[in-house]
């Protein structure tokens, strides 16, 4: 009895906690890192008062947010107003179930993993749209409308670029996708090379999908204050914040998995030395590589934010529908040709 209880209930819960708790900590540190990086780019200090080098700033902010009152606007839809932050957070966390961190380091190694990811990321828009509607505020509704239209548009470009990966891999399983990028030509075996335009489109769509600068018209401060979460305060706002940053980190991890070989080493196949385990991950690959890649991608989010002015709304729509989607559709065809003529080889067998 206890055995079953352990393997079917307690162990999965522990696995889930082992992903979610570091994720929340990562979000906190990511916020700190963002403020620090943008500070440096603006020739400022960034947060530097709380804790060593200001590292505890994010935790201080979280404590502050949690002890603030959650204000309910008059004439707002109370149930939906409280439901919306959760609807934003749950898909952002649930998507992590299929993310493989390393060989066999995955919570759910499902065959329809990519589909599951698409399903979860498409659910996140409900939190935004409901937050905007339930707030009973014009700014919030405008932000929600912009955001929802943008997320739906860029989901298509994102989905089509993932289709290119699927064409080359022939599997919807994320672990298989990483395995297919193994080889002995180092980082030239990864999909970024044959799918270069699609790789760039995927990441830019990811930035747009998470409503980050320069695509952050959903919360354009100068126009609609803070967009869909303008009425939210305290812990409810913190949950939106958490969801946004968790999905940013998710997009970074997925870009690394789909196009940058996941946990594979960029030196794969070039070094075949025997070394102790703590050192040979450098060429045989390990979860540390995935984290390094994801860190670099998440750094790009911050770099974009500090570098680019905000896109205008109609330009965002044009970019998504008239530029990205046609390119990805063409590249699906190109990927099919590459697969058919065997220009791209899959796995270590090459």
């Amino acid at each position: 009895m206890f055995d079953q209880f352990w393997t079917h209930l307690l162990l999965p819960v522990l696995y889930i906690l082992a992903i979610v708790v570091p994720l929340i900590l990562a979000v906190a540190m990511f916020v700190y890192w963002e403020r620090k990086v943008i500070g440096w780019m603006h020739v400022r200090m960034g947060p530097n008062k709380i804790g060593p080098l200001g590292m505890l700033q994010a935790f201080a902010d979280v404590v502050k947010l949690l002890i603030k009152e959650v204000i309910l606007p008059t004439n707002s839809s109370k149930f939906l107003y409280y439901l919306a932050p959760m609807l934003a957070l749950v898909p952002a966390f649930a998507a992590w179930a299929v993310v493989p961190f390393g060989e066999k380091m995955v919570l759910a190694n499902v065959n329809a993993g990519v589909l599951y990811l698409l399903a979860m990321t498409s659910l996140g828009v409900y939190g935004i749209i409901l937050a905007g509607w339930a707030s009973n505020s014009r700014y919030a509704l405008l932000g929600a409308m912009r955001s929802a239209a943008q997320v739906i548009s860029y989901e298509l470009a994102m989905g089509m670029s993932v289709v290119c990966v699927l064409v080359l891999t022939g599997s919807l399983n994320l672990t298989d996708i990483v395995h297919a990028q193994a080889g002995n030509k180092g980082f030239f075996d990864w999909y970024w090379l044959p799918l270069l335009p699609v790789f760039i489109i995927y990441f830019i769509s990811g930035v747009a999908e998470t409503n980050r600068a320069p695509f952050d018209v959903a919360e354009g401060e100068s126009e609609i204050v803070a967009g869909f979460h303008v009425e939210y305060s305290g812990s409810a706002f913190a949950i939106f914040f958490l969801a946004e940053y968790a999905s940013m980190i998710l997009v970074s991890f997925l870009a690394a998995i789909f196009f940058m070989g996941g946990w594979l080493s960029p030196l794969q196949g070039w070094i075949t030395a025997d070394a102790p385990r703590w050192i040979n991950w450098i060429w045989t690959g390990g979860f540390i590589w995935l984290f390094i890649k994801a860190f670099l991608f998440s750094f790009l989010f911050l770099w974009f934010r500090a570098s680019f002015p905000r896109y205008r709304y109609d330009q965002i729509m044009r970019l998504g529908w008239k530029v990205f989607i046609p390119i990805t559709i063409v590249w699906v065809f190109v990927a099919g040709l590459m697969k058919y003529y065997g220009w791209v080889t899959i796995g270590t067998g090459a």
Partner: protein
């Protein structure tokens, strides 16, 4: 607690949620709440399909209906601000038609359950299990080999539908000034701006003596 029992309990739980949410769709006064109940219905049905190991259909239902179609529904409902009282006025008028539709559906369902209860496999064995593939993989194989022509025809019909919808709604009104993002992006700086090259001016060799404070003060 054998897995089958858990599966049965989960089936009834999801089924109860689906039926409850479906009832809420037609009883709730607030149309946004009704749309959200419809979302919940789709979600519960997707869970039931997952239990039936039709994971591709289940996830496709969530991606297509919950993720895209219902969001647009929500858009429309939020924008239109429908007064439900007016919609409800025709209830008595449409009731006979509704009852007929409900009766036909009931008869069909009973017929289907009856066929299943007699142990007849109308659709045959589960082909995915027979081929030893996962549901998704088998669907892919079947769609792109056995059913390629119908699949392509469906794609063409959908494309025609999209083109028709765009053609019906796309209106070019004359005399309207609007921005063209394509033109704006294609702007060449050379047509907008002239860079003048000129020799740098040198400072006068004699340094200007500092202005005396007496001149600075105004009278």
């Amino acid at each position: 607690m054998n897995p089958q029992l858990i599966q049965l309990i989960m089936f009834y739980a999801f089924g109860a949620v689906a039926v409850g949410a479906a009832l809420a769709v037609i009883t709730l006064r607030n149309s946004v709440h009704a749309v959200l109940s419809l979302v919940l219905t789709f979600f519960s049905v997707a869970c039931i399909w997952l239990l039936a190991e039709a994971e591709f259909l289940a996830i496709a239902l969530i991606v297509v209906y919950v993720g895209a179609v219902m969001v647009l529904f929500l858009f429309v409902v939020m924008m239109l601000d429908i007064k439900m009282e007016q919609v409800r006025e025709g209830f008595a008028r449409y009731l006979p038609v509704g009852i007929i539709v409900a009766l036909v559906m009931l008869a069909e369902m009973i017929g289907m359950i009856g066929v299943r209860a007699m142990g007849l496999h109308v659709m045959g064995e589960d082909p995915a299990a027979a081929a030893g593939l996962s549901n998704t993989a088998w669907l892919g194989h079947a769609l792109y080999t056995q059913f390629l022509l119908p699949f392509e025809i469906a794609a063409i019909i959908l494309t025609v539908g999209i083109v028709a919808a765009v053609a019906l709604t796309l209106r070019h009104r004359g005399g309207v000034r609007h921005q063209s993002a394509a033109e704006q992006v294609a702007v060449d700086p050379r047509t907008r701006m002239r860079i003048v090259k000129m020799a740098s001016e040198t400072m006068p060799t004699e340094t200007v003596p500092p202005v005396a404070p007496s001149q600075e003060t105004s009278p």
